[in-house]
Amino acid sequence: MSTVVTQQVDEVKSTPWSGGRSPFNVEYGKMMMWFFLLSDAFTFSSLLISYGALRFSAPVWPTPSLVFQSFPGLIEKDAPLVFVGLMTLILILSSVTMVLAVEAGHRNAKKEVVTWMLLTVVGGLMFLGCQALEWNHLYHEGFWWSKIPNKETLQEFFKPGVPLSQQQMSSHQFANLFFTITGFHGFHVFSGVVINIIITINVLIGTYAKRGSYLMIEKVGLYWHFVDLVWVFVFTFFYLV
């Protein structure tokens, strides 16, 4: 009788949480990347939720389809969402090339990894270029941190009959929030491009071939997809809503 009990007690449990191994079953760096991204998600949420709160409490707000209605360099007016649509497409496409780089990494196909990584870098740079054009356009209309256009230009962004004082107040809030949030996102894209370039160089000199695993591509991939993810929200809350 007593032997049976001992056997039951000594039986080794093999559930994920019974100790001796990581219940998450991922490599340390990859897990830390996930937790970093979680903290970054909190930062971006705080910014976007403050934007939402200020906009929701404002009596008026500049109409997005009137503020963002140009395609810098090509179309001056009446093309709402076209330019930002292009930016969204570029970022989603560069996310796709990033997954393809990860997929090639699983097959240890070094040349393919390099090709897809370079395309991802190009996509990131194109997005940054578009954002520079967009900022430049708004800057020349008169928007900047705590700067707004003159009365006549401002009138174009509101429905007729809105008092000037209300136009000016909400435009100030809009300008500050727009440049801060898209700027913070753009800085993430920029650092993502720099990290992607460093990792591509590492692939080229054979660091990961020697290591026998292209797991690092997955880690930078997570960061890059997160940048895309944030843009999905910025796009909705600044350009659509």
Partner: protein, 122 residues
């Protein structure tokens, strides 16, 4: 002993990460993301101008955005194929974000009322 367990873990991890994404699946997710963005554009450019001031337009955008976020996180970031423990460790803290949204919507509602009350005094 410890080095032995370490190698076992490494093998486990390597096996787990090979599941999930093939080229075909990657392209499928891309088409879904592209399709949802196209729907958002259709709503913004065609449907919304016909219904000025409609309250049901913004919820459409938000739901579609959350669907896109799900596909990016689950498939591109591969979270769907990770261990349940990791999925919960990443997804559950998002409840705090929902909490902040509720708190600040409540707050801005209060600001609107305050502004109304003040403007009627002036």
């Amino acid at each position: 002993m410890s080095s032995e367990t370490a190698t076992i873990h490494h093998d486990d991890a390597a096996h787990g990460e090979h599941e999930g994404m093939t080229k075909k699946r990657i392209l499928n997710v891309f088409y879904i993301l592209l399709g949802i963005t196209a729907v958002e554009f259709f709503v913004a450019l065609v449907i919304a101008p016909k219904h000025p001031g409609a309250l049901w337009i913004n919820p459409i955008y938000i739901v579609l955005t959350l669907v896109k976020a799900f596909y990016i996180i689950a498939y591109f970031m591969h979270l769907k194929f990770e261990k349940m423990g990791l999925i919960m460790a990443i997804v559950l803290p998002v409840l705090f974000i929902i909490g902040l949204i509720l708190v600040l919507t409540n707050e801005s509602h209060y600001w609107i009322e305050l502004r109304r009350a003040l403007s009627s005094l002036l």
